[in-house]
């Protein structure tokens, strides 16, 4: 078994694990008892999607998936901060 085949299997396992993780966070978004659970689950889902993009980029040998991952990271941060502000004060921009 060559080393490249091991790396190929490792990348496939990592992508499948990220998809399973996104499914688990979706379960928490649907079942979350209160709003802060859903916001936390959305934040984790953004993170898992970003890691999935990085892994797909590694699997394809394509550097441009990195930019999509960076956009997802920035959007996830802004989404979480706005949702937390809204939950705390009832309005986003005071």
């Amino acid at each position: 078994m060559s080393a490249n085949l091991i790396l190929e299997y490792a990348l496939s396992y990592a992508q499948i694990a990220m998809v399973v993780a996104i499914g688990l966070t979706c379960w928490r978004i649907i079942r979350g008892p209160r709003a802060q659970d859903r916001v936390l689950a959305i934040d984790t889902m953004y993170l898992n999607a970003m890691l999935l993009f990085l892994l797909i980029g590694m699997g394809n040998g394509n550097v441009f998936f990195f930019e999509g991952a960076l956009v997802i990271a920035v959007l996830g941060f802004i989404t979480t901060v706005c949702a937390a502000k809204f939950l705390m004060r009832g309005e986003v921009v005071e």
Binding site: S2, A3, N4, I6, L7, E8, Y9, A10, L11, Y13, A14, Q15, A17, M18, V20, A21, I22, L24, T25, W27, R28, R34, A35, Q36, D37, V39, L40, A41, D43, T44, L47, N48, M50, L51, L54, L55, G57, M58, G59, G61, V63, F66, A69, L70, A73, V74, F77, T80, V81, A83, A84, K85, L87, M88, R89, G90
Partner: protein, 149 residues
């Protein structure tokens, strides 16, 4: 996958170990998000995928593209530094929002933002009116829920 054949075997195995460890830690963070009982326990679970999952996968990606293109490729460090900066901010704000909502729920205001103090009451006796605009002032109705109804 043709591009994987250009890697040296030792580097390929190292990158495979990094990727498997990072994705397993991220998966563990999501499993913890599902299995833990209360919100404040769940707040700790995704930090594993935030810190170690991102670190290991970014390191593996940097090593792989640096070896493939035979020059140092460090732009994945932007994601690492960004995650390092933004994770404490977002989780701290979420925890503070949850604390405030739990306190409001305990005082009988579930899912409702506490009422702002009306301007006529600003001039009256203030408990801790620090900003002089009624921001930190306690509403009397919050302290005695019986009179609130």
């Amino acid at each position: 996958m043709s591009h994987l054949g250009d890697l040296p075997p030792v580097a390929a195995i190292l990158i495979a170990i990094f990727v498997v460890c990072g994705s397993s830690l991220a998966l563990l963070g999501s499993i913890g998000l599902v299995r833990l009982k209360s919100f404040y326990q769940r707040l700790h679970a995704p930090t594993m995928s935030y810190s170690y999952g991102t670190l290991l996968i970014v390191l593996g990606s940097m090593a792989m593209f640096s070896l493939l293109e035979e020059r140092p490729v460090v732009h994945e460090l932007i994601i690492g530094v960004f995650m390092l900066i933004t994770t404490p901010i977002s989780l701290l704000m979420l925890g503070r929002a949850a604390l405030r909502r739990d306190r409001d729920a305990k005082l009988g205001h579930d899912e409702i933002v506490p009422p702002r103090v009306v301007p006529e009451e600003i001039q009256s006796e203030a408990l801790r009116d620090l900003s002089q605009y009624g921001e930190g002032k306690l509403d009397r109705g919050l302290l005695s829920p019986s009179s609130h109804e």
